[in-house]
């Protein structure tokens, strides 16, 4: 008996020593797992496009980093936190995956963040929106890259109030993301002197919004804030036009609107919507060149999630090259030391809570007459400096730093 306990103790000590000494590249391979919605309402804003963007980043390194090959695998979490968690566990525990990428749907991302935090693995978040991921749910190895609910609130929320939209009604997707976007925007509206007339929460992936829109109409609020995303936003905007919301003098605020949503809606319906984005392909030569390459592979222009995936994976691989290891905490440290400079962000800096701070843009959707063709959709109204758009570490409420 005693012998057995001793043996177990020795084995445990050996294991611990093993992890402490682990250097270099684990499994002789850097394995990137792109986990997102590949079949549902968020598939077009991330989906296979994010995997393509990750591959484009790896190709820049010749699919090799620190002398070892880079491999990219994908999976569909179907917008379910339990499926996302079990894929993440399997990837990290048995498949030798080193980093989880994308994970739209804040509910799933919060669950994955718990696991990557516990296992000290890097988590590059592109699709999820909730600012909690770098707030109370932050992790030393979690990075939130393209945008978050706070930046959307500062961009679209503040701009709408400034233009006189001082009374709001929220139409909110009833889960982690919608709640946070509603809360962050509400705070911003109130700070700017506006009031909130009411809120209605709809289940994720609803198809009929007429009932909720009617309630928004009845509230008499000047602005109807859509705290939802993807297919939900598309149907909300489409049906708002049908029910004469805008003809009645109310304005829609699409708090999270992706290029893919505008493409699906068509400019006839989407024209003049104001939105906040972290990326637009037609802003400078570098972005245009990269986006053109992306378009050749996918037939679409990238959303901020897809372009951001490229940027985040590229930065991650650079950090491994510099650190000479793919061990989570070491890579995380290197990533935070290095400014982000690529076609996506100029002088982006990563805060201690994992927030990648970069400029955001307030844009307006063009009218059909102004657009020169497919994908010529945005007019950039204003650059929102990163420091203004995102929370500071103190404001974020993140307790873990590293």
């Amino acid at each position: 008996m005693m012998g057995r306990i001793l043996l177990a103790g020795v084995a445990a000590a050996a294991l611990m020593a093993g992890t402490a000494q682990a250097q270099g590249i684990s499994g002789d391979k850097v394995k990137i797992g792109v986990l997102n919605d590949r079949s549902g309402l968020y598939a077009d804003l991330g989906g296979e496009g994010s995997a393509v963007a990750a591959r484009m980043a790896a190709e820049e390194f010749g699919n090799k980093v620190a002398g070892k090959p880079v491999e990219i695998i994908t999976a569909d979490h179907q917008n379910k936190a339990d499926i996302g968690s079990s894929i993440t566990r399997q990837w990290l525990d048995t498949d030798g995956v080193d980093v989880i990428v994308d994970v739209p749907n804040s509910g799933v991302a919060l669950a994955v963040q718990e696991i990557t935090k516990e296992k000290k693995k890097i988590f590059l978040m592109l699709g999820p929106a909730t600012s909690r991921l770098t707030g109370d749910a932050c992790s030393p190895t979690g990075f939130h890259w393209a945008y978050d609910t706070r930046a959307l609130a500062v961009g679209t929320g503040r701009a709408m109030v400034k233009e006189g939209g001082d009374t709001w009604f929220f139409l909110t997707a009833d889960y982690a993301f919608g709640h946070q976007l509603e809360a962050d925007t509400m705070a911003e509206v109130k700070t700017a002197g506006g009031t909130v007339k009411g809120v209605v929460r709809h289940p994720l992936n609803s198809s009929d919004f007429s009932s909720f829109l009617l309630q928004a109409q009845g509230s008499g609020a000047k602005i109807v804030g859509l705290a939802n995303a993807g297919g939900d936003t598309i149907n909300s905007i489409k049906q708002a036009a049908e029910f004469g919301i805008t003809q009645g003098g109310q304005k829609l605020a699409g708090l999270l609107l992706f290029l893919s949503d505008v493409h699906a809606l068509g400019l006839n319906v989407a024209q003049d919507l104001v939105l906040t984005t972290g990326f637009y392909w037609d802003m400078d030569d570098e972005k245009r060149a990269w986006s053109k390459k992306y378009m050749e592979k996918t037939g679409k222009m990238p959303t901020m999630v897809q372009a951001g995936t490229y940027s985040a994976v590229r930065h991650y691989l650079k950090a491994i090259e510099a650190a000479g290891t793919d061990e989570g905490l070491a890579v995380s440290k290197k990533m935070k030391e290095t400014p982000v400079n690529d076609m996506f962000a100029k002088n982006g800096k990563i805060l201690a809570n994992g927030r990648m701070v970069h400029d955001m843009y307030l844009a307006r959707v063009k009218k059909p007459g102004e657009s020169k063709g497919p994908w010529d959709y945005y007019q950039i109204l204003r650059t929102i400096p990163g420091d203004e758009a995102f929370f500071t570490v103190e404001q974020s409420g993140c307790k873990v730093t590293g």
Partner: protein, 295 residues
């Protein structure tokens, strides 16, 4: 002016009307399912995919052939119906001798394949389909703004539902059909070609799904997922109404649309489960459904 449970009555009327509009989709889709189940004893899980197909055919007709909404209302259901007949002839008809479950599995698999292909080709955000010019705009009813198109959907759906009910329950052709379900051998002995009748019935049920798809195209996006979003609710409607009961499908479709509309006012978070709560209660108290009869 008072309130009803804290809601102004005007808002309540508005929501009731919206419930009726959604109910008309439920009714139209569950009608097709009820016809198919009632006559063929097939649980047609591909119904949602065929509804989606109807919307896509309308979109194709518009963007490639230039055929507008009104002709599409006739042509698209015919094309979807023909596709249904092809499915019945080549696949489904081989399973009639087996348990219901095989038909269910086959149609479920078909639905996954059809939806997967469309998602692969067209992505998940879908394509816009404009509202026809004649039905643009809307009426201000005082208590709400009613888009003309939605009013049209309710009327069209009611007419189609009642016509189908009349056809099956009140005409000679319908009588043959019902007789063929009860005793196919005897009906065949009277010189009626039962297999052809069954094929045409399936085609008709599927065409109803295609028609609902065309009606839905201008309201929702033309989206590969539009069917799978709806099909489970529609099945619940059929189960509540009583499998195979035509009138049951129609009444329950509209009724549950109203109920869902009310839920969206009083407790919006529960709006997508209220129908299933009703289904559970109905199954407990009346397992054959509200209008069904025990077999």
């Amino acid at each position: 002016m008072g309130t009803v449970f804290g809601i102004p009555p005007q808002a309540l009327f508005g929501q009731l009307l919206l419930g009726l509009i959604n109910g008309s989709f439920y009714a139209l889709l569950s009608l097709g399912l009820a016809v198919i189940f009632g006559m063929l004893n097939v649980i047609n899980f591909a119904h949602g995919a065929l509804y989606m197909l109807g919307a896509f055919v309308a979109w194709w007709l518009l963007t490639t052939v230039g055929l507008g909404y009104w002709p599409a209302l006739l042509v698209a259901p015919l094309i979807v119906g023909a596709f249904g007949i092809l499915l019945e002839k080549t696949l489904l008809s081989r399973l009639y001798k087996l348990d219901h479950l095989y038909g269910l599995l086959l149609t479920f698999g078909l639905a996954l394949i059809i939806e997967g292909m469309f998602r692969h080709w067209y992505g998940s955000s879908g394509m816009p389909y404009p509202i026809p010019d004649a039905l643009k705009g809307g009426q201000n009813l005082g208590f709400m703004f009613l888009p003309n198109y939605r009013a049209w959907v309710v009327v069209a759906s009611l007419v189609v539902c009642l016509a189908t009910w009349f056809l099956i329950e009140r005409t000679r052709l319908g009588a043959y059909l019902r007789a063929a379900t009860e005793n196919p051998v005897l009906v065949q002995a009277f010189g009626i070609n039962v297999p052809v009748m069954i094929t045409l019935t399936y085609g008709f049920g599927v065409a109803l799904a295609g028609l609902a798809g065309v009606l839905a195209a201008p309201i929702y996006q033309v989206n590969p997922l539009m069917g799978s979003n709806l099909i489970i609710v529609v099945f619940a409607v059929v189960v509540i109404g009583g499998m195979g009961s035509i009138m049951g499908a129609i009444v329950t479709g509209f009724g549950l649309g109203l109920l869902e509309g009310m839920t969206k006012v009083f407790y919006p978070e529960a709006s997508n489960i209220v129908i299933f709560v009703v289904m559970a209660i109905v199954l407990l108290l009346k397992p054959a459904g509200l209008f069904g009869r025990e077999r």
